[in-house]
């Protein structure tokens, strides 16, 4: 039976458009909605790549990468198109969790239970990993034509008992950071362990007076100025600048973020000019007060990459041949494993 795989990255399209059209709109946001993407690295690790590696171990040569608004599954017509293209079984991974899952075991369970759809769950519910067989794929596209076809509800779920953590909120993400820094899961920070539970990425620059309290991580090419304190349980991702005297504790600083001097970042997540408090869920705009910002030097490169992402499917034979890209609202990328 031909197996295909799709990784779906949840995006907050509404929030992205607010950022672009009304940058002031988030200044006084009090809600707990996350404002970062689950594609952001965690201790230098790309969660998509960790799933890709698991898919590769199943023997697949490639997978499809797409995006979808949060809490929505991938475009149904696109899934059904996989069935029409000859894919009889599809592994759909929504990037809303990090799970140390043996996908071969999931596949084995799926085959043995003979369910058309198998959802992976842990004690907290669905993990966003699902196997769909031909019949179920067809039913997703033509539900009305197959009223008796099995649907998503009903079949026995695959109970996953290994390590799993949701990554859609800043708080969950920080829990994963903590677990990875303390060895509670298999993820390891991407860098050199310069002393016990202190990891530093390639090209990071720390002033002599910087105090690093483990467990902590400082990403590649990040600059930490004099008198700053990093840790414990802190993750400063790649290409950040932490200015003099600032403390980052039990927090994450996402890539390409500048933090002004003398700040206290405690139990918070900072992404460029925005900060989310993990206790209150309040999102503050740091820019008007000059407390934080996105480092501009890579902004242009990122924008170019984003545009390339959007337009890539039309330019690739594999994507052009694939009918869903013409009907689906999201771009589809074929990634070689």
């Amino acid at each position: 039976m031909e197996l295909g795989a799709v990784v779906v990255v949840p995006v907050r399209e509404d929030l992205m458009s607010i950022h672009e059209a009304q940058p002031q709109a988030l200044q006084a946001s009090e809600n707990s909605r996350p404002f970062y993407s689950s594609r952001m690295p965690i201790l230098g690790n790309d969660i998509v790549r960790s799933w890709m590696e698991r898919v590769r171990k199943l023997g697949l040569q490639s997978l499809w990468l797409t995006s979808s608004p949060r809490d929505e599954s991938v475009d149904r017509s696109a899934l059904a198109e996989f069935a029409r293209q000859g894919v009889e079984r599809l592994l759909v991974i929504q990037l809303k969790s990090y799970a140390e899952m043996d996908l071969a075991d999931l596949l084995r369970f799926h085959c043995e239970s003979r369910n058309p759809v198998t959802e992976a769950e842990d004690a907290r519910g669905q993990l966003g990993v699902c196997l769909r067989d031909y019949l179920a794929l067809q039913a997703t596209g033509e539900k009305s034509a197959f009223p008796s076809a099995p649907t998503d509800s009903g079949p026995t779920p695959y109970q996953f008992r290994g390590y799993a953590k949701r990554i859609l909120t800043a708080k969950e993400r920080q829990e994963l950071v903590r677990d990875a820094l303390t060895g509670a899961c298999a993820m390891r920070p991407l860098g050199t362990e310069i002393r016990e539970r202190v990891w530093v990425g390639e090209g990071a620059n720390l002033a002599d007076s910087v105090r690093v309290i483990g467990p902590s991580y400082i990403g590649a090419r990040t600059i930490v100025h004099a008198g700053a304190t990093i840790g414990p349980f802190a993750s400063v991702e790649h290409d950040c600048v932490v200015d003099c005297g600032t403390t980052v504790e039990r927090s994450t600083v996402l890539p390409e973020t500048y933090l002004a001097p003398g700040l206290l970042i405690r139990h918070q997540l900072v992404d460029g000019g925005y900060l989310e408090d993990l206790s209150w869920g309040a999102v503050a705009d740091l820019r008007p007060a000059g407390l934080g910002s996105r480092i501009q030097r890579r902004e242009a490169r990122r924008q170019a990459f984003r545009e390339a992402d959007v337009h890539a499917p039309a330019g690739r034979a594999s994507a052009r041949d694939f009918a869903p890209s013409s009907t689906a609202s999201q771009p589809w990328l074929r990634v070689q494993l």
Binding site: A28, Q268, P288, A289
Partner: protein, 127 residues
């Protein structure tokens, strides 16, 4: 201990440059000269910019080393977060509302502490 009346001062956010300058002067004078505790209320400010942060730091500096006690009313969680990030909340007590701030126990000033000691000393049966 004497119950001292509070002075509540609105924070000059969102005002024009001239108004802001006037309010800023009033605020700093009140902090410097007022014998009563001062509540600086910026709960109507949607967010704080760098001028606001500077002024709040100045308020904290004016109150430091004086008998004047200063309290901040942040209003929103976002403002509270900004005060924590800038460490201002470690210098000055911060509240969500004026009502909460008014309920804050008044710490006796140095003179009042002196009065208190004298009155305690004069109590019959005291050592």
């Amino acid at each position: 201990m004497k119950a001292t009346p509070w002075t509540i001062l609105p924070f000059p956010c969102g005002a024009s440059f001239a108004d802001r300058r006037g309010l800023r002067k009033d605020l700093l004078v009140a902090l410097r000269d007022s014998g009563s505790p001062v509540i600086v209320d910026f709960s109507s400010c949607g967010t704080l910019n760098h001028e606001d942060i500077d002024l709040l730091l100045e308020c904290a500096a004016q109150a430091a080393g004086r008998e004047t006690k200063v309290l901040f009313v942040a209003g929103t969680r976002v403002n509270r977060v900004l005060l924590e990030v800038t460490r201002i909340s470690s210098l000055v007590p911060v509240f969500n509302s004026v009502k909460e701030a008014l309920a804050y126990p008044q710490i006796p000033t140095e003179n009042e502490v002196e009065d208190l000691r004298v009155s305690q000393f004069q109590k019959p049966g005291s050592a």
